[in-house]
Point group: C2
Chain length 395, copies 2
C-alpha cells in the first residue's frame, strides 16, 4: 500500500538525519501524523491515541510506536520491517497510571539512548503537555530540545510524485466546487449542498479516488461570512445571501485547497465590488510569485492592491500546503505575511487565500499554486469571480 | 445559533466550578474543543490554531480566547457577552516569537490571577507541550495543576436535550449504514461507497441535517479488516472479501457510532462463526447494563462469552461517547474494560464495540446505548449480524 517508492521514503529519512546532525540531535520523536506518514508511509485514523515515530541518527529505519490494535495498520502501510514496529498494550490507553510515552522511554533505554539529545515536536498537534512531562520524567539524563517543524521544513519542497498527487487533488477540488455552485439555491439546505461536496471529494475522479481532506467543507452564509471557519447548518439559503465555500481535494493525503464566494440572486453593489477587489489583489500577488521572491514580498503586493482600493486587512494571505491530517491542511512553515522572509523555490506549493472581512460580510476567492522555475502554476482551473446564481429556483 | 438554552450552559459552568472548588482550583484553562463547546457553545473549525476557554471560579461567564478572525464565530455561536470574547492578533499564529498562550497569561495578569492555582488539560488534544511551557514561563508565581478530563467527567451524564441530539444522530447512523450495505458490491470502488456514506451522514434526515462526525468512515477490507483504523482506497471489492464499516451519525456535534461487518458473496465458515461469537458476546454484555453495575462488570460478561467460544481479546470493548470534535468521538472518561470501576448511571451513553481480530481477519459489530433507569436502550435499530451480500453484481 506504499504511495511512494521506498527510495523516496529513505531519501526523506536521510534529509531528516542531516538536519538532526546540524541541530546536534541524536534522537527525534515525531508525533505529527503528517510527519509520521512522510517518513514511514503510516496512514490510519489512529492519531486519536498517542503514537510516535522515533528516528535514531545512526540507524536507517525509524521505529513506529502505537497501539497494539494498530500494529497491523503499520504493517500494511509502512516500509518498516517487523523489528521497527513496536506496539504498546491496550492498558496504556487513556489510563491514569500508564502513558504511551512511558513505552517510548522504555524503547530509548533498551537502545541505550537515554543520555542523548532528544528532539520532540513541542508545538505539534497531538504532542500534549503530558507527553512532554512523561518523557522528562522517564529520561532524566536526556537533553530534550525542540524539534517542532523540523520535518515540516523538509516537506516544503515537493517531489514530482508529490506534485502529481497534489494536481490530482486539484482536479477533485474543481469537481467539488462545481457541485457546490450547481446545488446552492434558494430553499436548499446548507447540509444538502455540503453532502454533495463531500460525495465529490471522496468519490474523486473516474481514474482515481478521493481521500478525506484534513478540514471539512466550510460554508458560512449571510452575515456569518464574516466568521470564515463556521461549518454548515440545516437552514436553507435565502435570496441575496452570500456564501463562502472553502474546501480541498485530497488524494493520498495530499491537498489542493480552493475557496470561492457565491451569492443566491443578485449581489449588492458592495459585494460585487468586494469580489473585484479580492480578484485584483489575488492576481497582483500571484504575479509576483517566482523563485527568489520572499513570502512577505508576495503579501506586500496584495496589501498594496487592496490599500489602493481602500481596504485594510490584518491576517496572513496564505501558507504552504500539501500532505496533512486533521485538523489542518497547512504545513506550519512558510506563510504569506509581513515578516516571513522564506525564499520561494520551485515545487513549493501554497494556498493563497486573501479573505476580506468587513465585520458583517466576508469574501474569499483563493488559488493553490506551485512555484515553477520561472513563476507559478495555478493548480485548479476554476473561474475567479464572485459566483452569481441568478436563476433562483421557484419556491 | 445556540443549540442549548443559556440556562443549560450556565448549569454546566456551575458544575464545573463546583468541581474546581473540590480540587482547589481557582482558574481552569480549557483547550479541548468539545469542552469549550460544552461550556460556551463555541463551534467552528478553528481548533487547528491555539484557542482556549478560561473559567474563573468566582465569575459567571468564561472567557473565550482565539484568533482575531474567529471572534465573529464566537459571537455567532456562544452565549458569552462581548467582554468575554478576547481575540488575539494574527501575528500570534505559528510564530517563532509570540505564542497564543502568552496572550492567555496577559489576560490572567490583567485579572490579577497570576498567583492562583490554575488547572490545565495536560493530556487533552491541542494542549501542546509548548502551550504548557509558555504558561509556566509567563506565570512563574502560579501553581499549575492537572485538570485533564475535569469537564469530560461532567459530560458523562447527558441531559434530555443531549439525549435527543444523540437519538437524532442514531437515526442518521442507520441511514448511513444502509447506504453502505446497499452500495458495497463486487467491482465497486471503496471510495464510492464511502462517498455515499458521507453524503448520508451530512445530509441527515428530512426533518434535520447531519453534522460532520469526529472520525471519517473507517472501511478496512479483506486482510486489512485486522487493521481496524484504516480508511478507504480506490480499489474495488472482491468476491469473498469481508469489509468492516465503522461510522457515526452526528447532529449538533453529538454522535451515535455504529459498526457492522459485511461480506461480498458467501462468507467462509470461519467468518460466519466469528460473527455469531461477536453478536452473542455483544448481547451478553449489553444484558448486564443497568444503573449500579460497573464498566468492568460489563466487559467481564463479554470476556466470559468469548472465552466460552474459545476466543481471546485484549483491548477495551467500549467507551463513553457524545459531544465531540476530531479526532475522536470518545469522551476519554469511562471505558468498558478490566479495572474500570465507573458505576453506570441513567443517561450515560456508550459505544460498545467488541472487535475480534485474528491477525488476518477482523470482525466488528457494535451498538451505541443509553443507560436507562432499569437497563439500557439501544440507540440505533439495525440488524445485528454479519451482513451477507450474495447478489453479486455481474462483472
Amino acid at each position: 500500500m506504499l504511495t511512494f517508492s521506498i527510495e523516496e521514503y529513505q531519501e526523506r529519512v536521510t534529509q531528516t538525519k542531516q538536519r538532526m546532525a546540524v541541530e546536534g540531535v541524536d534522537v527525534l520523536i515525531i508525533t505529527d501524523p503528517a510527519n509520521m506518514n512522510y517518513l514511514s508511509g503510516y496512514n490510519a485514523w489512529s492519531f486519536y491515541v498517542h503514537q510516535a515515530l522515533v528516528v535514531f541518527i545512526d540507524e536507517s529505519q525509524p521505529y513506529w510506536i502505537g497501539r497494539g490494535l494498530d500494529a497491523n495498520a503499520a504493517r500494511h502501510t509502512t516500509w518498516l520491517d517487523e523489528e521497527h514496529i513496536h506496539p504498546y498494550a491496550d492498558n496504556y490507553i487513556q489510563s491514569m497510571v500508564r502513558h504511551p510515552m512511558d513505552f517510548v522511554c522504555d524503547l530509548l533505554k533498551e537502545h541505550k539512548r537515554e543520555h542523548k539529545t532528544i528532539a520532540v515536536e513541542l508545538d505539534a498537534y497531538y504532542f500534549t503537555a503530558q507527553c512532554y512531562l512523561r518523557l522528562m520524567n522517564g529520561l532524566p539524563n536526556a537533553t530534550i530540545v525542540d524539534g517542532t517543524n523540523l520535518v515540516n521544513w523538509i516537506r516544503i519542497v515537493k517531489s514530482d510524485t508529490e506534485i502529481d498527487y497534489i494536481k490530482k487533488a486539484a482536479k477533485i477540488s474543481e469537481k467539488a466546487m462545481q457541485v457546490a455552485f450547481d446545488t446552492i439555491n434558494k430553499g436548499v439546505r446548507e447540509c444538502d449542498v455540503v453532502a454533495g461536496i463531500s460525495y465529490a471529494q471522496i468519490s474523486g475522479m473516474e481514474e482515481y479516488g478521493g481521500d478525506y481532506p484534513s478540514i471539512v467543507p466550510l460554508l458560512p452564509t449571510g452575515k456569518k461570512t464574516s466568521a470564515c471557519h463556521l461549518t454548515w447548518t440545516d437552514e436553507t439559503f435565502n435570496e441575496g445571501s452570500p456564501v463562502i465555500i472553502e474546501l480541498a481535494g485530497c488524494h493520498n493525503r495530499y491537498h489542493s485547497p480552493l475557496a470561492r464566494t457565491a451569492v443566491v440572486g443578485q449581489p449588492t453593489q458592495e459585494l460585487t465590488k468586494l469580489g473585484e477587489v479580492v480578484v485584483e489583489g489575488l492576481n497582483e500577488a500571484l504575479d509576483t510569485v517566482k523563485p527568489g521572491v520572499t513570502c512577505e514580498e508576495v503579501e506586500a503586493a496584495w496589501h498594496d492592491s487592496i490599500t489602493k482600493n481602500g481596504v485594510e486587512k490584518e491576517s496572513r494571505i496564505g501558507y504552504s500546503t500539501g500532505l496533512n491530517y486533521p485538523p489542518d491542511w497547512g504545513e506550519h512553515t512558510a506563510s504569506l505575511r509581513p515578516g516571513d522572509r522564506t525564499v520561494l523555490e520551485p515545487n513549493m506549493v501554497f494556498h493563497m487565500i486573501p479573505t476580506i472581512d468587513l465585520g458583517y460580510i466576508g469574501m474569499e476567492i483563493s488559488e493553490s499554486f506551485r512555484v515553477t522555475e520561472t513563476g507559478y502554476e495555478k493548480l485548479a482551473d476554476f473561474p475567479q469571480e464572485l459566483h452569481v446564481k441568478p436563476n433562483i429556483r421557484l419556491a
